[in-house]
């Protein structure tokens, strides 16, 4: 019930933020006045929440290695699964924005895009791996995978500062973008609420599936 309220509050906050953004926020970014710029709020929101979710998964994985309770692995798996969906949305919305503003769906010379895609592939590997294991040994390997995979996240976040990024500059800390602060904060809070609701839903579902397997196998 508690997580459902978080999810509903998140959905409400996202909808209100969308209304604010559609009516109040400036459509002009980098000298271009176009409605596609408003995608920024959603694009950056799902990216940040998705990456924070991978940190949650890493913490849950560390906790699992310290004490191998299946629930900790399920939380990590659920967090990665939802983050993966969010990062997919980040890539897709970024591609749509790029098509209008860069005149290009994708730029291989841009370090932020390429590192984000690498993160996507790494965690796709994690999810595929977990589709094939359902025991503590498998969970342990998955936890190690998850902890090592997280190295790719700060690299992606800092990539535009670590290397020259021809197309992808800083999005929030730049004078070329006039962000509607309250709307962005509301969008971020809303997406976070939705994220944590989805994660709770997923791990409880996995726990229920596991329970049903145990019940099923214990029958004569």
């Amino acid at each position: 019930m508690g997580w459902r309220m978080v999810g509903l509050a998140g959905l409400g906050s996202t909808l209100v933020a969308t209304g604010f953004i559609a009516t109040q926020a400036s459509r002009e970014f980098y000298g271009v006045d176009h409605p596609v710029n408003l995608l920024f709020y959603f694009h950056v929101g799902v990216a940040w929440v998705g990456f924070v979710g991978l940190l949650v998964a890493t913490i849950a994985s560390v906790a699992f290695l310290r004490r191998p309770v299946p629930r900790r692995s399920w939380i990590a798996q659920a967090a990665v699964r939802v983050s993966f969906a969010f990062i997919t949305l980040t890539l897709l919305t970024g591609m749509v924005w790029g098509r209008f503003i860069w005149n290009s769906w994708w730029e291989w010379s841009d370090i932020r895009l390429v590192t984000a895609l690498v993160v996507w592939f790494i965690y796709a590997g994690y999810l595929i791996y977990h589709k094939q294991v359902d025991d503590l040994v498998g969970y342990r390997r998955g936890a190690v995978f998850c902890i090592l995979a997280f190295v790719s996240v700060p690299i992606t976040v800092a990539s535009t500062r670590l290397w020259q990024s021809p197309f992808h500059g800083a999005s929030v800390t730049t004078d070329s973008v006039a962000i509607h602060g309250p709307a962005f904060a509301m969008m971020l809070a809303g997406i976070s609420g939705i994220y944590f609701y989805l994660v709770s839903l997923r791990w409880r579902l996995q726990a229920a599936e596991h329970q049903s397997v145990i019940v099923g196998t214990s029958r004569p």
């Binding site: 970014f29 980098y30 000298g31 271009v32 176009h34 209008f100 503003i101 860069w102 005149n103 290009s104 730029e107 291989w108 010379s109 390429v114 895609l117 592939f121 796709a124 590997g125 595929i128 589709k131 094939q132 021809p166 197309f167 992808h168 500059g169 730049t174 004078d175 070329s176």
Partner: protein, 122 residues
Amino acid sequence: MKRRTRLLVSGTVTVFAMTMVLIGTLESSVPFVGPADLGPTLEGKRLQVEGIVQGLTVGPDDLTFELSDGAGATVLVRYPYSGQRPLTLEEGRLVVAKGLYRQRVVEAYQVSVRAHEDPGSP
């Protein structure tokens, strides 16, 4: 998930990843140059030329403009397009033209605009 389905999913993701890496490798292997670097040695080669758009002319089915490095060197770019003209492709924008360099002209198949690096643009 059944073993066959798992293999199918894993196989599809692997093939997709390999294709992406191949495309990325091919794209990034195209030399990245400025207008001042162009000369007979690069004649007939596929290049990525970076510069500032000047003298933009809009034709019925192509855009023609000069790319400048801001230090006097320029090169002519011809960019065929259909449909709506690219939004940000305008005078003073920093762009990367990808295409074939032939007889002192870049026949571009793609022109990407570096919007993030153009805070002073209109």
